[in-house]
């Protein structure tokens, strides 16, 4: 990861206004977005002082001892079968142990629908002087690309709800940047209706209330619903089955507040 990119990611994380907490734990991945393993790596990379990071992946928990932006080892796991790796400091000198720990974290976290983290006080761990492995080292083992630009809130909203949508047309600064599904109708709407609608909306409502999700029940063929999502320069047209409205709105609120 380049220094500039790393710096940009840290600034993005610090300025994020959509951090969601749940019973004292911070939600770091929901519905696979961002990718759970990316989120685990980011937490390790952000932890300088020694901490016990408790990750909850849906119903499973794993506690990792992390210090100096490096994973030292596994302190505890809620499921059985990990006794061989618990309490041992990982090191590149012991590749079998390192791979076993990486596999264990991956098996618990990689497919989590909801991943949270809680930063707890450290506990005595290990006997050796090994420093553990860096987030970058773990990324290499998992073959995860960490040098990615941070996703915008709209990007997270679209990724999180991909399975709830049947088609998407994403426009930024009047340019179509992404599409999904059968978007022909959405493109026609974009070309013929959106600008006029936004002008009428601006005239009707004077107040600017930030990002908006506007849903129209049964506005498309076969009773499919349409939605217009607006945030900064992002304009997104969405087609979705009408009965997904509750889940779509709930996700919007979690990301945009």
């Amino acid at each position: 990861m380049s220094d500039l990119n790393a710096l940009a990611q840290k600034i993005s994380a610090l300025t994020a206004q959509d951090v969601v907490f749940e019973a004292g734990s911070r939600v770091i991945s929901q519905g696979g977005s961002p990718a759970p393993l990316d989120s685990v790596l980011a937490e390790i990379d952000d932890t300088v002082l020694e901490r016990n990071l408790e990750f909850t992946a849906d119903t499973q928990k794993i506690n990792l001892i992390v210090a100096g932006r490096r994973l030292r080892g596994v302190l505890a796991v809620s499921s059985m079968g990990a006794e061989d790796v618990i309490g041992k400091t990982v090191s590149r000198e012991e590749p079998d142990l390192l791979l076993a720990v990486a596999d264990l974290i991956s098996s618990i976290c990689s497919s989590a629908n909801r991943l949270t983290v809680r930063s707890l006080a450290p506990e005595p761990f290990g006997t050796g002087g090994e420093r553990g492995i860096s987030a970058q080292g773990l990324a290499e083992i998992w073959q995860v690309e960490t040098d990615q630009a941070p996703q915008t809130p709209m990007g997270r909203f679209l990724n999180t709800n991909k399975s709830a949508f049947s088609a998407v047309l994403h426009v930024v600064d009047d340019e179509i940047v992404a599409t999904f599904g059968d978007f022909d109708t959405l493109q026609t709407i974009w070309e013929t209706q959106v600008a006029a609608f936004q002008a009428r909306q601006k005239k009707t409502l004077n107040a600017d209330d930030g990002p908006q999700l506007i849903c129209f029940d049964g506005a498309l063929e076969d009773g499919t619903a349409a939605a217009l999502a607006l945030a900064d320069e992002d304009v997104v047209l969405i087609a979705y089955p009408a009965n997904n409205i509750g889940a779509v709105h709930s996700s919007w609120r979690a990301i945009f507040g």
Partner: protein, 120 residues
């Protein structure tokens, strides 16, 4: 009584703080729930928004056909609008907190506007 229907819906949803019954053809709020203390201008804006989203006089907002319900979620509120099944000019306009369970509220509000419209 229309107001009783509006009050019952509002009482069921703590996160709902205004419900109004409006006529799109005249763009007028006819009745609000009995606890609502919104200013007239706010209610007028709400009615204008209903007209914009549900489409008055055959004018489409977004889509291939007029919607029978629309929802606007913003940081400060969720505004929900529903048109009666049998009388296209009868609409329910609701202002809720962002925390409202949109799916459940829409189902109950749909039943509410259809009862009001069919009794009128």
């Amino acid at each position: 009584m229309v107001v009783n229907e509006l009050d019952a819906l509002r009482e069921k949803y703590e996160s709902c703080n205004t419900i109004a019954f409006a006529d799109l053809s005249t763009q007028m709020i006819l009745v609000t729930d009995s606890s609502s203390n919104r200013r007239r201008e706010v209610l007028d804006d709400l009615c204008a928004e209903a007209s914009l989203l549900l489409g008055a006089n055959g004018k489409l907002a977004i889509g291939l056909k007029q919607s029978n319900s629309a929802l606007v979620a913003s940081k400060s509120s969720v505004r929900i609008f529903l048109r009666a099944e049998d009388e296209p000019n009868d609409v329910l306009c609701c202002i809720c907190a962002p925390t409202v369970d949109a799916g459940a509220f829409l189902a109950d509000a749909r039943a509410c506007i259809d009862r009001i419209s069919s009794a009128a």
